[in-house]
C-alpha cells in the first residue's frame, strides 16, 4: 500500500486529484476503527491516545481532529471516560471501550476483513500493478 501511494506522484494531475479524494474517504472510514482498536488494547488517556494515533502512517489524523471524534464516540456510548489526577500535569482523562464499543469494533473488524478479502480476490485477478 505504501508503494502504491508513492506512485501517486507520478500520475496525471487530474488522476492525482481523484486519488487524493479517495484517500480522504478511506481515512474517514478508518479513523473511528483505529480509535476503537487503540482502546481495545488498553485504557489510554487523551494525550497518549492522540500521540499513538498521530504516529500511524497515512492515517492523517491530527490532535485537532481526534478530540471532537472522541467526544462523539462518548456521546454515542462507545467509549467511557474517567479523570485521574497526575503528578506531571493536569488531571488525565482516561478513555475506555464500553461493551457497546467492543461489540461494534468486532462487527467493524469482521466487515473490514471480508471487504479486504473480496478486494484481495479482485486484486489477484487483476494482477499486481
Amino acid at each position: 500500500m505504501v508503494a502504491r501511494v508513492a506512485d501517486s506522484n507520478e500520475i496525471e494531475p487530474r488522476m492525482g486529484d481523484f486519488f487524493d479524494n479517495w484517500t480522504v474517504q478511506v481515512r474517514k472510514g478508518l479513523i473511528e476503527l483505529c480509535v476503537l482498536n487503540a482502546l481495545a488494547e488498553r485504557e489510554r488517556y487523551g494525550y497518549e491516545l492522540v500521540k499513538t494515533l498521530v504516529d500511524i502512517p497515512g492515517l492523517g489524523i491530527t490532535e485537532g481532529t481526534l478530540y471532537p471524534l472522541l467526544s462523539r464516540l462518548r456521546l454515542q456510548g462507545l467509549v467511557s471516560t474517567r479523570l485521574e489526577e497526575s503528578t506531571e500535569g493536569p488531571a488525565r482523562k482516561y478513555y475506555n471501550l464500553t461493551d457497546e464499543g467492543r461489540a461494534l469494533r468486532s462487527q467493524m473488524l469482521v466487515y473490514l476483513d471480508e471487504l479486504n478479502r473480496g478486494a484481495g480476490i479482485l486484486r489477484k485477478r487483476g494482477g499486481n500493478a
Partner: protein
C-alpha cells in the same frame, strides 16, 4: 509538576477556544468537553516541551497543531497536493500537510470565478479610482449635487477604497497562483506574511467603512444615476455602491479563507480597527460641518438660543462651510431632502455675523479653488464661483472664477483754490475663464461728495462715451443689451451716498479684456483756509480678483504744491507750470486714507466761478470758501460697532474721545449681540467679536440723543455688508426729522467696505458721511474740533445776471466746469429729496451726472442707443484730464465733434 502560565497566555488560550466553539458545535461533539480536552492537551504539550513558563507565543504555537477542524472531508485535495513532498519517506508521503496543521485542514476557500474577479477589479478598483480622479479634477459632483471631497483628507480616505480592494485582489492573485485564484492567501497568513495579512484586513475594513458612507450618501441619487448610466457619467454616481459591494465581497472571501485559532481574533480586530478608524475619520470630518449646520439654523431663528448659537459659531464654527453656503454650494443630498436648500442671503448674513467680514471680501472656498481649471488659476489668486448668479443684477454678489482686474490707471487733476478734483479711473478687466463670459461688478466708494461725470468704454479700440439718462432707462438698456443680446455695455448707477455700482459685460472668455473709464468730479475737503485734501475712489466691493502684484498707476496734477506728500509719491514735471505727483499703489494702499494728499491753496482766493450749463446764457456757478461757526452738540451719542474688525480701532477712538470737553455729555452705545451702554472710559476695554447688528444700538442712541435738542449721533463702524434686522424704524426717525434740533447721524467708516445701512438711508438730510482723510484718530479729532473751532467749506451756488450783477467779478478765480457739476449734483439731490424727480433727472442729464435720479450707460452701437431712446454724450462736453483752458477746449471740442460725426456715420452705415 505543572508548568506555570502567564496571564496573557491564559487569556490567549481562552480566546482561541472561544473562537473554536461554533466550529465544534457543527461537528456533533460536545463543545465543552472538547474544549476541556484541548486545554488539557495543551497543558500536556507544554509539560512535555519542558517549558519553564508558558507564554502567549507558546500558546499560539501549540494551538496551531491542536486546533480542530470541523470535518475530515475538508482536507483540501489541492492543499494536500501542494504540500506533498516530491521525494520523501513513505510515511511522509502518506501524511497530510501538517505545517502548519491548521493550514492543512482549513476549509476550502469560497470559489470565485475569473469573471467575478474581473468584475471586482472593475467595480472595486478601477471605477472608484477613476471616479475619484474625475471628481478631483472637474468637481462635477460638487457643482451638480454636493461636494464629496471637501478636504484633501476626504480624498485620501476615498482613495483607500480602490487601494484596499486592489491590495486584497493582488495578494490573492500573487499568493494563490496564476492558475487558481481561489487559493487563498493562506500563505499570506503564514509567517512572515502575517503582518501583511493584518494590514490586508485593516485595509478591507477601511474600504468597507468609506464605501458604506459614500454609498449611503448617494442612495437618493441612484434613480438619476441609473438613467444617466447611458451617458457614462451615471457610472460615477454608482461607483460608491459598486465599491461597497466589491469591498463586502472581498470581506466575505477573506473571512472564509481565514485560518483558525489565534489568527482569527487578531485579524478580526484588524478589520474592525480599519473600519472604526475610517468611520471615525469620516465622522470626525463631518462633525464640524454637521454642528455648524445645526447651529446655523438655530442662529437664523429669532429665539434666545440664536445668540448662544452665534457665539458657538464664532468660536467653533466651520468657516469654510459657512463660506460655501454663501456661494450656494449644496450641503448634501440627504440634507437637502430633509432641510431643503440653503438660503443664500441668510448664509451671507450669518457669515458676516460670525466672522465680521463680507463673504465676498475673502477668497472663495478653498476646496473649490484647489480643484478644476488649475491652468488659469495660476494667474488668478482669488477663486470664485463658476455660475454668476448676480449677472445683470444690482448687487455685487460673490467672486466669480476667472475674472480679475488686469490694470488700473488713475489720472487726477485738481484745483485746490476752487476746491475740486477730477479723477479719471481707467480699469481693464480680464477674464481667464475658458468658456464663460463674465460681468465685472464693483461698488466704488467715491471721494466724499463726489459724482460720476464721465463714463467711457473702449469698443474695438475706439472710445465710446456714455448716455446719461434716467436711472431705470439706463438699467433697462443695459439689461437688454447685456443679458439678452450679449453685446458690450457698461453701466454706472448710484449705490448709496458717495457710492456707485459699476458693471460691464460681457468680458469674453479665454483671457478676453474689457476696458472702461470712469470720470469722477469731487470737492476737495478744506481742513484749513490754506489746505485742501485730495482723496480718490476705492473699491468697497467687487466680484473680481486683484493680483497682489497689481499696482494702481496714479498721476496727480495740480496748480498748487502738495504739502509733505507721504512716502511713495514721486514729483514729476507737470504741464503749464503745474505740479505733478506720480505713484504706484497696491490695492490695500489705495484703500488706506493715509494716502490722501494735502495741497496748499491760496487763502486769499475765496471766490471761484465757472460757466454753467443752464438754459440761460447769463448764468454762472459761484463758489465761495467761507468759515462756519462751531456748533457743539448738546449731547453726543457714540455708537460703536462691536464687530471683530473694530477691535484694533477702539484705542484710537478712545484717544479721540478723550480730547472732547468734559462738559459734553457722552454715552457710548456698543453693538455687541445687543446694546451695551457704556461710559467713554470703557472704550479701550471693548473687544470686537464677529459681525454685529448695529441698528438696535443706533435706535437706542437716537432715542437718548432726542431727549435733548441739538444732539448728535456718531456711528463708527467697520464694513456692514448685510442688513441683519429691519432698518425701517431708524429710517422713520431720521426721515421725519424736520427740526434741525433733532439728532443727526454722522457716519464714519474705519475702512472702505459695503454699508447697507447708509445705502438704505440715502437721500436723507440728517445723515452725512465723515470724510476719511487721515488716520482714524486724526479724522475723529478733526470732527470733534469742528464742534469747537470754525471750519471751512466751499459754498457753491448758481447765479444769474441781474440788475446789479451782469458778469462774474473779474477778481474771482475762474476755474473749470467741474464747479458747475458739483453745483448740479447738490441741486439734483435737493430736487430728489423734494420729490421733484423729473426736474432732477433732466438736470442730471444736462450735466451728464450719475445721481440717484440718473445713470450712465455705454452701448456698443448707435442703433442700440436709438432703440433704447438714449443719446450718447457729445465728446465735446465730457470732462477730460487735464481740464483745458477755453481756447484749447474749443480746439479739442471741434476735433472731437468731427471724430464723433465720422463715427456716427460709420456706425449707421449698413
Amino acid at each position: 509538576m505543572t508548568t506555570p502560565w502567564t496571564p496573557t497566555a491564559r487569556r490567549e488560550l481562552e480566546s482561541i477556544l472561544d473562537d473554536l466553539r461554533p466550529t465544534l458545535t457543527e461537528t456533533g461533539a460536545d463543545p465543552d468537553e472538547v474544549l476541556d480536552d484541548l486545554r488539557r492537551h495543551v497543558s500536556e504539550e507544554a509539560s512535555a516541551a519542558r517549558l519553564t513558563v508558558v507564554t502567549e507565543a507558546d500558546v499560539r504555537r501549540l494551538v496551531e497543531r491542536v486546533a480542530p477542524t470541523p470535518r475530515l472531508e475538508d482536507f483540501g485535495r489541492r492543499q494536500h497536493r501542494n504540500t506533498l513532498p516530491s521525494s520523501a519517506s513513505p510515511r511522509t508521503h502518506l501524511e497530510p500537510p501538517t505545517t502548519p496543521a491548521s493550514t492543512s485542514t482549513s476549509p476550502k476557500p469560497p470559489s470565485t470565478g475569473k469573471a467575478a474577479t474581473i468584475a471586482l477589479w472593475i467595480f472595486g478598483v478601477f471605477l472608484p479610482a477613476v471616479t475619484l480622479m474625475y471628481e478631483a479634477v472637474t468637481g462635477s459632483c460638487a457643482a451638480e449635487l454636493f461636494d464629496p471631497l471637501p478636504t484633501t483628507w476626504h480624498a485620501f480616505l476615498v482613495a483607500t477604497v480602490p487601494i484596499g480592494n486592489a491590495l486584497v485582489l493582488w495578494i490573492r492573485r500573487t499568493h494563490g497562483g496564476a492558475g487558481n485564484q481561489d487559493t487563498v492567501i493562506e500563505s499570506a497568513y503564514q509567517s512572515p506574511m502575517r503582518r501583511s495579512a493584518t494590514w490586508l484586513w485593516a485595509a478591507n475594513g477601511t474600504a468597507v467603512a468609506v464605501s458604506s458612507f459614500y454609498a449611503l450618501a448617494f442612495v437618493p441619487a441612484m434613480p438619476m444615476a441609473l438613467i444617466a448610466v447611458v451617458f457614462v457619467l451615471g457610472l460615477f454616481a454608482l461607483a460608491p455602491m459598486a465599491a461597497w459591494f466589491s469591498s463586502m465581497t472581498l470581506r466575505r472571501w477573506l473571512s472564509k479563507s481565514m485560518i483558525r485559532g489565534a489568527e482569527t481574533r487578531r485579524l478580526r480586530y484588524a478589520w474592525w480597527a480599519g473600519f472604526a478608524l475610517a468611520g471615525l475619520g469620516l465622522v470626525g470630518m463631518a462633525l464640524p460641518t454637521v454642528q455648524t449646520r445645526h447651529y446655523s439654523r438655530v442662529a437664523a431663528g429669532e429665539t434666545v438660543a440664536s445668540t448662544a448659537a452665534l457665539r458657538w459659531l464664532r468660536t467653533h464654527g466651520n468657516r469654510e462651510q459657512l463660506l460655501r453656503d454663501c456661494y450656494g454650494y449644496r450641503p448634501g443630498i440627504w440634507y437637502q431632502l430633509v432641510a431643503g436648500n440653503t438660503d443664500i442671503d441668510a448664509a451671507r448674513r450669518l457669515f458676516f455675523q460670525v466672522t465680521g467680514q463680507p463673504f465676498n471680501a475673502v477668497p472663495a472656498p478653498k476646496a473649490i479653488q484647489s480643484r478644476r481649471l488649475t491652468g488659469f488659476l495660476a494667474n488668478f489668486d482669488v477663486g470664485g464661483v463658476e455660475w454668476d448668479a448676480g449677472l445683470g443684477g444690482d448687487t455685487v454678489a460673490g467672486l466669480v472664477r476667472g475674472l480679475s482686474l488686469a490694470s488700473s490707471r488713475m489720472d487726477v487733476v485738481c484745483d485746490p483754490d476752487a476746491a475740486w478734483s477730477y479723477t479719471e479711473w481707467t480699469l481693464e478687466f480680464r477674464n481667464d475663464h475658458p468658456q464663460q463670459r463674465r460681468e465685472a461688478r464693483a461698488q466704488i466708494q467715491l471721494p466724499h461728495g463726489g459724482v460720476v461725470s464721465r463714463l467711457t468704454l473702449w469698443v474695438d479700440g475706439e472710445e465710446r462715451e456714455a448716455a446719461f439718462a434716467g436711472r431705470s432707462d439706463t438699467r433697462d438698456a443695459y439689461r437688454k443689451v447685456a443679458v439678452v443680446e450679449r453685446r458690450d455695455p457698461v453701466l454706472v448707477t448710484t449705490s448709496g451716498p458717495d457710492r456707485v455700482l459699476l458693471q460691464c459685460f460681457p468680458i469674453p472668455p479665454g483671457s478676453g479684456t474689457m476696458k472702461v473709464r470712469l470720470g469722477i468730479t469731487a470737492p476737495m475737503a478744506l481742513i484749513a483756509a490754506d489746505r485742501a485734501v485730495l482723496s480718490w475712489p476705492v473699491f468697497s466691493e467687487r466680484n473680481f480678483g486683484i493680483r497682489q502684484t497689481l499696482r494702481h498707476a496714479t498721476w496727480v496734477e495740480s496748480s498748487r504744491q502738495p504739502v509733505q506728500p507721504r512716502e511713495g509719491w514721486s514729483p514729476s514735471p507737470g504741464g503749464e507750470g503745474r505740479t505733478a505727483l506720480r505713484g504706484e499703489w497696491s490695492e490695500s494702499q489705495m484703500a488706506d486714507a493715509l494716502h490722501a494728499v494735502v495741497f496748499s491753496r491760496s487763502s486769499s482766493v475765496a471766490d471761484s466761478w465757472s460757466p454753467s450749463r443752464s438754459e440761460s446764457r447769463d448764468a454762472w456757478v459761484h463758489a465761495r470758501v467761507q468759515s462756519a461757526p462751531p456748533r457743539s452738540p448738546s449731547r453726543l451719542a457714540l455708537v460703536l460697532d462691536g464687530s471683530g474688525s473694530m477691535t484694533e480701532h477702539f484705542p484710537a477712538i478712545a484717544e479721540a474721545v478723550a480730547s472732547l470737553p468734559k462738559s459734553l455729555p457722552i454715552t457710548v452705545f456698543a453693538a455687541k449681540d445687543g446694546v451695551q451702554r457704556l461710559a467713554p472710559e470703557a472704550i479701550p476695554l471693548l473687544k470686537g467679536e464677529g459681525g454685529q447688528d448695529d441698528v438696535p444700538a443706533l435706535l437706542a442712541a437716537w432715542e437718548w440723543a432726542a431727549e435733548v435738542p441739538g444732539s448728535q449721533v456718531v456711528w463708527i463702524h467697520g464694513p456692514y455688508p448685510t442688513v441683519i434686522g429691519s432698518i425701517e424704524q431708524l429710517r422713520q426717525r431720521l426721515d421725519w426729522r424736520t427740526d434741525s434740533a433733532d439728532p443727526a447721524l454722522l457716519d464714519l467708516a474705519v475702512q472702505p467696505g459695503p454699508n447697507r445701512i447708509v445705502e438704505a438711508l440715502d437721500g436723507l438730510d440728517s445723515v452725512s458721511v465723515v470724510p476719511r482723510l487721515g488716520t482714524l484718530a486724526e479724522d475723529l479729532m478733526r470732527l470733534f474740533a469742528s464742534w469747537q473751532e470754525p471750519t471751512y467749506h466751499s459754498q457753491i451756488s448758481l447765479e444769474h445776471a441781474s440788475a446789479t450783477t451782469t458778469v462774474p467779478d473779474p477778481r474771482w478765480h475762474r476755474t473749470a466746469g467741474h464747479l458747475a457739476r458739483l453745483w448740479a449734483q447738490s441741486e439734483i439731490r435737493r430736487l430728489w429729496r423734494d420729490r421733484r424727480r423729473n426736474e432732477a433727472t433732466a438736470l442730471a442729464n444736462r450735466y451728464q451726472l450719475v445721481t440717484p435720479a440718473s445713470g450712465a450707460v455705454v452701448l456698443e452701437t448707435q442703433a442700440q442707443f436709438t432703440q433704447a431712446g438714449l443719446h450718447p454724450a457729445d465728446p465735446t462736453t465730457v470732462p477730460v484730464v487735464p481740464e483745458p483752458g477755453l481756447p484749447r477746449l474749443l480746439a479739442i471740442g471741434l476735433l472731437a465733434l468731427l471724430l464723433f460725426r465720422r463715427r456716427v456715420r460709420l456706425v449707421r452705415r449698413p
